[in-house]
């Protein structure tokens, strides 16, 4: 169990770093969504199913959607 | 007895109703916020007479603290809610005429919710609930700063939002740490348990809370957003932001420092920070040519002075600080409201463009002058007794540090006087004919309307009421000092607060 959690946390931090590095904003948003999804799994493992559901629905799905809409209306690449 | 919950529930109800009115009966919208705030003013004045002896504690949901969220209507909180309702009422009357356009329902909903959030912050007795109301206050002010949708407004709103959001996150981390340490969120409960933990481990949560709340309170290193936001919002919103929002932020800071942590060790640091904020604010204000930026920097200076006075932490000092807070709220709201129409008529934000306005709109300019005099601290206006109390309290501590700091504060007051007299000189004694001025490129608040002179009556009424209040409280400070004294007592005696909540 603890190995699974460690791997998930590691992946989550990698995702956060990717969100920082990527110049393509869509890529950054996808990395941030990955962070959200893994966070939702961690919430589930921490015995918080309500929060996991909220994070998956709000944090992952809707946030990603509004980010992508906003990027489509502005510009895609960070200079 | 009025239940203090109604002070929050009634304006919320009005705010929820406004979108319905926007669909079916649009012209009525602009009268709803004054109605809600008039209710709040009456109700909180009624409460004020009751709570001075015994604070009223109401639990929400019907459980005993600390197992529920409870409101603490003590003298301090109710005093604040009176001020919020009063200033909010007058500003919303002003806005009836001032805010034009076809989507005013957004403006009215957001400003009403901003004031509701402020009322919630000052009444709540639960630290996470304070965070939620703080967010209501902050988020509606982000949206309102960008209300005009012009370049300057949107840019300032973005800066404000980013700094405010970082502050909120830090605040939430601080709350999480406190919950981890004490296992409760009730402020009185935390305050009662605070001695069970070593002071070292309290330091980090305290710093996080002060930083998070300090962003909204505009304490020195955290106030980069303020001049932009206050100067690019519509003038009625600037009045609310300068007159209420930062004061409520400061309230939250002192509530955390005094009541929750009972921290006397950090007070001297806060006093230094206050004076630093004061001097920086006044110096920046002195170098401004833009009237609203000048007023915004002057707010920073005043907040510094209030923070300093509260950090003296004697009965006299806290009373003086609260009195100064009241006087700043009234005077600054008046200044922004008066400046709003002066700007509207001249079509420029530059002080040099105001030449000769004293003749064209004498009443508005006279009101501006009174506000400026009061802010500087001249008798017979409210600024005089408040500053006098602070100076007396600082000297009464008989400590060299405070004497030196109050000397610096007086220096700040002199600078303040200098730049306000410059404006007044321009208003009344320069340029017989307003010569055509170059438009400030950043300014497109509204197309100037140079034809008519004086501000409309609906706008003059609140301005007049502010002037009356400033003069009356200046001549008879006794009218408010009793209430201020009991508010100061509530802040200084944390054990009474704990006992009244937890029983």
């Amino acid at each position: 169990m603890i190995y699974l959690v460690s791997i998930l946390v590691f992946l989550m931090l990698i995702g956060a770093v990717m969100a920082s590095i990527l110049k393509d904003l869509i890529g950054a948003v996808i990395a941030a969504t990955l962070v959200s999804i893994i966070a939702a799994i961690l919430f589930y493992l921490l015995q918080a199913p309500d929060v996991a559901m909220a994070e998956a629905a709000v944090g992952a799905a809707l946030t990603a959607a509004i980010f992508i809409i906003a990027i489509r209306r502005t510009e895609r690449y960070e200079k | 007895m009025v239940n203090p919950v109604l002070l929050i529930a009634v304006p919320l109800g009005f705010a929820f109703v406004i979108p319905l009115f926007a669909l079916f009966w649009k012209p009525a919208i602009k009268y709803l916020p004054p109605l809600a705030l008039a209710f709040n003013l009456v109700a909180s004045l009624l409460l004020l007479t009751e709570v001075c002896e015994n604070p009223i504690i109401v639990s929400i949901g019907g459980w005993q603290p600390p197992f529920c969220i409870n409101l603490v209507a003590g003298p301090l909180g109710v005093l604040f809610s009176v001020v919020i309702a009063l200033v909010g009422l007058l500003v919303s009357i002003y806005a009836i005429e001032y805010i034009k356009g076809d989507d005013t329902e957004n403006y009215h909903t957001l400003s009403l919710l901003l004031l509701t959030g402020a009322t919630g912050v000052v009444l709540t007795g639960d630290i996470f609930n304070l965070f939620v109301f703080f967010e209501i206050l902050c988020i509606s002010s982000y949206a309102l700063v960008a209300y005009l949708r012009d370049k300057a407004g949107v840019e300032s709103a973005v800066k404000y939002l980013i700094q405010g959001a970082v502050g909120s996150s830090l605040l939430l981390i601080g709350i999480g740490l406190l919950y981890g340490l004490f296992g409760t969120l009730n402020m009185a409960d935390i305050a009662a348990k605070i001695d069970s933990v070593s002071p070292i481990s309290l330091f980090v949560p305290m710093v996080l809370l002060i930083t998070g709340l300090g962003v909204e309170a505009a304490i020195f290193p955290l106030n980069a957003w303020l001049p932009d936001a206050h100067s690019s919002a519509p003038s009625s919103i600037s009045a609310i932001l300068s007159g209420i929002a930062i004061e409520v932020g400061l309230y939250a800071v002192v509530r955390v420092v005094f009541t929750i942590f009972g921290a006397s060790s950090i007070l001297l640091f806060l006093a230094f920070l206050g004076i630093l904020t004061l001097l920086i604010g006044e110096l920046c204000a002195f170098s401004q040519n833009n009237i609203k930026r000048m007023l915004a920097y002057s707010s920073i200076g005043q907040i510094g002075l209030i923070l300093f006075a509260l950090s003296i932490a004697t009965s006299g000092g806290v009373t003086g600080g609260l009195f100064q807070l009241l006087s700043h709220t009234l005077a600054k709201a008046l200044l922004f409201l008066a400046a709003g129409y002066i700007i509207y008529r001249t079509g420029s934000l530059q002080i040099t463009a105001f030449e000769g306005m004293g003749k064209k709109m004498p009443l508005t300019c006279l009101a501006f002058t009174i506000g400026a005099f009061s802010l500087v601290g001249l008798p017979p206006f409210i600024g005089f007794p408040s500053k006098f109390l602070i100076v007396r309290a600082a000297l009464a501590t008989k400590e060299t540090v405070f004497a030196v700091l109050i000397g610096l504060a007086l220096l700040g007051t002199i600078i303040e006087g200098a730049y306000f007299f410059r404006v007044i000189q321009v208003l009344f004694f320069q340029g017989e004919e307003g010569k055509p001025q170059g438009q400030n490129p950043a300014f497109n608040e509204r197309r100037p309307d140079k034809t008519s002179g004086e501000a409309p009556a609906v706008a003059l009424i609140p301005i007049f009421v502010f002037v009356v209040l400033i003069v009356v409280f200046g001549i008879y400070p006794k009218l408010v000092t009793d209430v201020l004294n009991s508010a100061a007592t509530e802040l200084l005696h944390r054990y009474d607060y704990i006992r009244s909540v937890l029983g």
Partner: protein
Amino acid sequence: MRKIVSILLLIIVAFGIIRALVEIPFGTLKTEVGRYYIEKGVEETGAVNIVTSVVVNYRAFDTLGEIVVLFIAAIGLGAVLRTGREKKTRDVQPASLILFTGCRFLFPFILILGIYIFIHGHLTPGGGFQGGAIIASGFLLIYLGCKERRISRVASHIAESLGGLVFLGIGLLGLVFGSYFLFNFLPMGTANTLFSAGVIPIIYIAIGFKVGSELAGILDNLIEES
């Protein structure tokens, strides 16, 4: 320069937080308040999901504040993005038949799923926010699939206002019947059945509709305006 200062600042923050965390060991019981809710929650509120009983009953005032925050965001977003001119019809590029049919087919199921989740908030994980968010994602699907369709602005405003007013009204009724704001004045019923827990399901339904319509309104504004 800015990078170095920021990293220094972050190191200070990290140090302080590590210092503070030493006092807060992971995985231990820290609170009496939470314990109280677990011991008494079912008996006092009738909801078997303790998180729901905390969200909608013990700390319902926070929840009221939170839906206000979302309300502000929806209104503020409308105010910021508003163009003032009539909306142009979107350049309708019809979606492929499969996408179109799929979206129309899926939409009612997503709606029902969302409603199921917020009606059963006091029994199973989930509740008003989760259900509302799922409803909003159903509308997102409609935007992707059936491009010519829009949600009615009037209906969403009415749902928003009524959701808020129902919540507030229940709170005020509590004040009338039990002399406490948001007092749970309806009978608790038998725990673990649908019709139990007094006002909790009603509040969650109001929250669900409000959150759903607000999030859908936010999406609508972002896609359509300016």
